[in-house]
């Protein structure tokens, strides 16, 4: 095990203590596992709450702050949080205008947020929910749990967060979130497997010289294994997979995302290839974000997420955001 940890059992608690120390703008309840922006509830604003298994940092805790999430609920590593956390988060951020849950489409997240929504409504909090399901590697059919939520989560949280910060109603914030999700698609590739603290060894065996196409963010194997491809070939494959499903008719925002262990140097090089293929396909790119944002612990690899935007979404993208991991425009 090559991990910078104490014991597997305390990984999430330790990280939350470390976050609390690093980010005075966050209220971090380590025991209850809720990360809330310090000024919550913000009068007149809808609360935006997300959460999911840990191991995807900076998602979600790194996106809590003005212009993005009001609160995040980190679960155990790769395990969705429990309803108690979400209810607590909702109560902490509700200013009376209601709360939107941003839920990545995994059975665990869906079920736990569903229970939480019921409980929160019992407490008199108005709750709406939006499912993020952008991963084109999974067919959205009766024969799967539906497309997974991956990179588009960042877009949903940023854009709906900007709307919430402007004082938009719950209906409006929810509709922005839904539009963003419907306008976004992702595809991911792994160059190595993941080692979770609990398991201590790679979740699958990927010999050097091979890669997994169509992976998720939980160390699950992908849809297909292939011999190693170049950055150029991977970009062609991933972008085409996204475009085939998204069929954008206007400009997009691109997220060129690292899975955690791929150096930024390689990610930027990969971005050059992503931009090349997009321009070859006649897709214009309004904004690009390159970095490790929606990660899978120590997995090497990358994903591409495209979100088709209109003027309003572009305005919301450029709106100020002030979180641990995304900041601009104040």
């Amino acid at each position: 095990m090559r991990m910078l940890i104490n014991v597997p059992e305390s990984v999430v608690d330790d990280a939350l203590r470390g976050m609390a120390a690093a980010h005075p703008a966050l209220k971090v309840d380590v025991a209850k596992r809720v990360i809330v922006r310090r000024d919550a509830p913000v009068n007149g604003n809808v609360g935006l709450v997300s959460g999911g298994g840990s191991g995807h940092e900076p998602l979600h805790g790194g996106f809590v702050g003005p212009g993005m999430l009001s609160a995040a609920c980190p679960g155990e590593v790769f395990t969705s949080p429990v309803p108690d956390q979400m209810v607590r988060a909702a109560a902490a951020v509700d200013s009376g205008k209601g709360v939107l849950f941003v839920v990545k489409n995994y059975t665990g997240d869906v079920l736990n947020f569903e229970m939480a929504a019921e409980l929160a409504e019992d407490e008199g909090i108005q709750v709406a929910r939006v499912l993020v399901n952008d991963d084109v590697a999974v067919t959205d059919s009766l024969f799967t749990a539906g497309r997974r939520g991956t990179g588009a989560t960042l877009f949903v949280e940023k854009l709906a967060g900007a709307a919430a910060e402007e004082g938009a109603s719950l209906v409006r914030v929810e509709s922005v979130a839904r539009q963003v999700n419907e306008s976004s698609r992702s595809f991911g590739v792994a160059l190595s497997a993941v080692t979770t603290p609990a398991k201590g060894s790679p979740t699958f065996d990927l010999p050097p010289g091979e890669l997994e196409l169509g992976i998720g963010i939980h160390g699950e194997p992908g849809r297909e294994r292939r011999a190693m491809m170049t950055s150029r070939e991977i970009a062609d494959f991933a972008v085409d997979a996204v475009l085939e499903d998204l069929r954008p008719t206007g400009p997009v925002i691109a997220l060129v995302n690292g899975m955690g262990a791929t150096p930024l140097l390689e990610l930027y090089g990969f971005n050059a290839e992503v931009q090349r293929v997009l321009s070859e396909r006649g897709v214009s790119v309004a904004r690009t974000l390159v970095g490790n944002y929606v990660t899978s612990l120590d997995m090497a690899g990358c994903s591409v997420t495209l979100c088709q935007i209109d003027e309003e979404l572009l305005r919301l993208w450029d709106a100020p955001v002030e979180t641990a991991a995304l900041r601009w425009g104040r």
Binding site: P8, G53, G75, E76, V77, F78, T79, S80, P81, V82, P83, D84, Y106, T107, G108, L111, N112, E114, M115, A137, V138, T139, L142, F143, T144, A145, R148, T196, A198, K199, T203, F204, G216, H218, G219, E220, P221, R223
Partner: protein, 201 residues
């Protein structure tokens, strides 16, 4: 007749069984999932055992309902709400009786299993815990040992299936050839029930 004590022993024995089998459950989950099923249940059933010890409920229904609530509040993931609902709804169906018959338990378990199917939207054959739970609930009317056999068989029978629910469904055909971790832990739950019933008999 089965009393609150019987159900507490069942839950405690299940907690011990999960400790014993956690690594195996996580290994199964790493083949077609995200390698946490063992530690998820460990966290949950430790909390169940602690809660039952702290303030032992006095009826079979209350034991299962408390256990289910503990699972919901501590496990997370898919299995937390599903197992939590299974026990909570089974417990609810048992009502306030201080003792219940095996027949009543079988009926109540059926209600719990139905709730799981409704919550998760899965059917037998989707390669989930239901593949062990549904046949077990059916066979429990007959005997504890029949339920054990049915659950074990159901869990084994998930190997050749292609998953249609949960994370394993993302793998498509690559999920074939692996035993479902949730079906395996469900069989463990029924095995433990049969063990406890055998010891009590």
């Amino acid at each position: 007749m089965l009393d609150a004590q019987f159900f507490r022993v069942w839950m405690t024995a299940m907690a011990a069984a999960v400790e014993r089998e956690a690594a195996r459950l996580t290994d199964l989950d790493s083949a077609i999932g995200d390698a946490d099923h063992g530690s998820n249940l460990q966290r949950g059933f430790r909390a169940v055992a602690a809660a039952l010890e702290k303030e032992p409920p006095l009826t079979p229904g209350a034991v299962l309902a408390l256990s289910g609530r503990q699972l919901i509040s501590t496990v997370g993931g898919a299995s937390g709400p599903l197992y939590g609902t299974l026990l909570r709804r089974t417990g609810k169906a048992l009502g306030e009786a201080e003792q219940v018959t095996p027949q009543e338990l079988a009926q109540a378990l059926r209600a719990g299993v139905d709730a799981v199917a409704q919550l998760g939207g899965a059917k037998p054959g989707d390669k989930t815990m239901l593949d062990a739970l549904v046949p077990a609930a059916d066979a429990l009317g007959e005997s504890f040992e029949a339920a054990r056999a049915a659950a074990d068989e159901g869990a084994l029978a998930t190997v050749p299936l292609q998953a249609r629910k949960g994370r394993a469904s993302y793998l498509g055909e690559r999920s074939i050839g692996h035993q479902d971790p949730g079906a395996t832990s469900a069989a463990l739950l029924i095995d433990t029930l049969a063990d406890v019933a055998g010891d009590a008999a």
